[in-house]
């Protein structure tokens, strides 16, 4: 009979190999799904994973898009991963992303139409602060009242979406165009516009911020005491407490960092690719970033690769919608499957399959 045996130590090989295997399995399962939808699976998979980068016709448009879509994913996921390592589950990054965008846009709209070099930096600070504040709600409720941070952070996403709608229809609405929801277009306001830094690459300040965040997170997790505390609290909470790690402090730090980074991502989006505060501004980056964090093995370098891959599926999904009339939701299914396969495969990391004959030894 077959049975599972727990490994003494998680297998290093499978830890690295599983994400690749999961991607391959998702492509196969996704191909089957596309075939069931009546589309040619090979064409569909190629369109999603290869054409955005390598195709002659779409490449020039979609290559810069890759960084635009991946940067917010990476920025958010890097923050989330720190918390996940310590078993602190911020799953409301989508809400922190929205509030960060609103704070950033709020600063811009307050200064409109003044010029000034200081406006954009102020927006950056405001965006990070907005996300930080929104994440502090579950953090403080957790440390003061022991309220479950998973439920609170998630429920706050819906609250943030309502605030976004209220802002787009009310306070932040463009007063120059009567009757339409949505704020002024920040791309037309030079002092606030998060423009492309090198033309044709898609690199804007958000991409730079994502890079800095990855480097900082890497240094923190491997070189800094705080990173050690995070790992310790995740793997041996009791030992951590005896070692003087304050669980409350860790909750505040982890949620604070991930909230601020999600807020930054929202701010860079609203002042650049997104352009304005609209009801449909939130596009699910906060949730997809959870998949990115897991697929990247909660490791900053891994998260860069995973973020690029999932960014690719966003662009490929749009291409598929355009060229093959693939339903937009197919990409969501794709991303969900990816997480499933990864989790399922991970049993190999921690367990060994043993075939035993007859009675158990």
């Amino acid at each position: 009979m077959i049975r599972l045996e727990k490994r003494k130590e998680p297998s290093k090989f499978w830890r690295i190999a599983n994400p690749f295997l999961a991607v391959a399995l998702t492509m196969i399962a996704g191909g089957i799904m596309f075939a069931m939808l009546g589309k040619d699976p090979i064409t569909a998979i190629r369109l999603i994973f290869f054409d955005p980068i390598f195709s002659e016709t779409f490449g020039s448009y979609s290559r810069p898009q890759l960084l635009i879509k991946s940067a917010p994913l990476i920025l958010i996921a890097v923050g989330l991963a720190i918390g996940f390592k310590a078993n602190i589950w911020n799953i409301g990054a989508e809400g922190q992303y929205i509030i960060g965008a609103l704070f950033g846009a709020g600063v811009a709209l307050a200064f409109f139409p003044q010029p000034g070099w200081y406006i954009f930096p102020l927006m950056v600070i405001a965006g990070a602060f907005g996300g930080f504040l929104w994440a502090m709600i579950p953090a403080i409720l957790k440390t003061r009242f022991n309220t479950n941070e998973i439920l609170v952070s998630l429920l706050l996403v819906y609250v943030a979406e309502k605030i976004l709608a209220a802002m787009a229809l009310g306070l932040m609405r463009n007063p120059d165009i009567a009757g339409f929801p949505g704020s002024r277009d920040l791309r037309r306001y030079e002092a606030a516009y998060n423009a492309e830094l090198i033309s044709g690459t898609g690199i804007h300040w958000g991409v730079v911020a994502a890079l800095i965040a990855v480097i900082f997170a890497y240094a923190m997790m491997t070189r800094h005491m705080l990173g050690y505390h995070v790992q310790l609290a995740g793997q041996a909470p009791r030992a951590a407490r005896f070692g003087g790690v304050s669980p409350a402090r860790l909750v505040v730090i982890c949620l604070g960092i991930s909230g601020a980074l999600a807020g930054l991502a929202g701010m860079f989006e609203v002042s650049g690719p997104g352009g304005q505060v609209r009801i449909e501004f939130a596009s699910g980056y906060g949730f997809t970033a959870i998949i990115v964090a897991f697929l990247g093995r909660l490791n900053p370098i891994g998260i860069v690769l995973a973020g690029l891959l999932l960014g690719l599926t966003y662009i490929g999904g749009e291409l598929g919608q355009m060229m093959l009339q693939l339903p937009g939701a197919a990409i969501q299914v794709f991303q969900g499957m990816l997480l499933f396969f990864l989790l399922a495969l991970d049993f190999q990391t921690n367990y060994r399959i043993r075939l035993t004959q007859g009675a158990r030894a």
Binding site: L4, K6, W89, I91, L141, R144, F145, N146, T147, N148, I150, L151, V152, L154, L155, L156, V157, Y158, V159, K162, I163, A165, A166, L169, G170, F287, I290, I291, F294, P327, G328, A329, A330, I331, Q332, V333, F334, Q335, G336, M337, L339, F340, L343, A344, D346, F347, N350, Y351, R360
Partner: protein
């Protein structure tokens, strides 16, 4: 006068309808958590139930078959969760999240051709003279059968957990899986069955939304109902009747808020419609702060993986 225009009997009736979907999902999740498993995929199973239930009901013309289909859809998705967490020993939090993300995507994909269709009507249960009682008849005795079945389900779960032998085994497994295993109970089998029950209930709750409460199919139509159901289980401190009280309380808030919107109160709609989420958070805080009784009532083995070493 704004509040004067709201008829209390109608309000009560609407409250029961608003409470039923989350109560269904919550009572299922309550059993799952009692067995020691935390399934955060309620939202995903609910939306799959809403979608599949709608599709089946529209194609067969029978709301009843729709509900059956929804229960199976929720159960199918929950089996995936059971496979991951019980057989492959994955992290329950991550697996539940995966279930929700996957369910939201798959339902949007399957339901895309059903947007804008009206489902077959679910008839009101004919309770004869009961429905003619003033006030009570309108408020309580003029609903569809699912409202009453849900209450019956709460009673059944209460009895099952409190008095039946199987229910005691389930609680033992949830309280201390090592001890239950040592006594010879099949920890995993019990948990898989509980997870399936939870999935079926969540599916039914979702179908109640798309077939009766709304009634229509739109992408992402559960808008957090599954998460509110999860909060409700904590609020109820894992007691069935308290889950029902909580659901009705919550339903009351939702309905009142909708009525205020309709009555044209000078608060923007967006702020009124965030109140259910804010109140859920407030209640969670109150319960978990420990001032209220029963905050330590959580099953002992909740969210802990079980792997028999021999």
């Amino acid at each position: 006068m704004i509040l004067g225009s709201i008829n209390p009997a109608v309000l009560m009736a609407a409250l029961m309808v608003a409470a039923t979907p989350i109560l269904l999902a919550a009572i299922g999740e309550l059993v799952v958590e009692k067995s020691g498993v935390l399934n955060l995929g309620v939202e995903g199973m609910m939306i799959m139930g809403a979608c599949l239930g709608f599709i089946v009901a529209v194609n067969t013309g029978s709301p009843f078959l729709g509900f059956v289909g929804a229960a199976f859809a929720g159960m199918a998705l929950s089996l995936l969760f059971a496979l991951l967490t019980q057989a492959l020993m994955t992290n329950q939090v991550a697996s539940g999240l995966a279930l929700t993300l996957f369910g939201l995507g798959l339902s949007a994909l399957l339901g895309q051709r059903y947007v804008g269709i009206t489902p077959p009507r679910t008839p009101k249960l004919d309770l004869g003279p009961l429905s003619d009682i003033p006030f009570l008849g309108r408020a309580i005795f003029s609903h569809d059968i699912m409202v009453y079945l849900t209450i019956a389900l709460v009673a059944a779960v209460w009895w099952f957990l409190k008095y039946s032998r199987a229910g005691m085994i389930l609680r033992a497994v949830g309280e201390n899986h090592d001890a239950a295993h040592a006594l010879g109970y099949h920890v995993k089998r019990v948990r898989v069955l509980a997870i399936m029950f939870g999935g079926a209930c969540a599916g039914l709750g979702g179908a109640y939304l798309s077939l009766i409460r709304v009634p229509q199919w739109t992408e992402g139509m559960t808008v957090g109902a599954g998460w509110i159901a999860l909060a409700l289980v904590v609020f109820a401190s894992w007691r069935p009747w308290r889950a029902m009280a909580g659901a009705y309380l919550f339903g009351g808030i939702v309905v009142l808020q909708l009525n205020l919107q309709a009555a044209g109160v000078k608060i923007p709609v967006e702020y009124l419609s965030m109140s259910p989420y804010l109140i859920t958070i407030a209640v969670l805080v109150f319960i978990s702060s420990g001032k209220a009784r029963g905050s330590s009532n959580a099953p002992g083995s909740l969210n802990r993986p079980f792997h028999a070493s021999s």
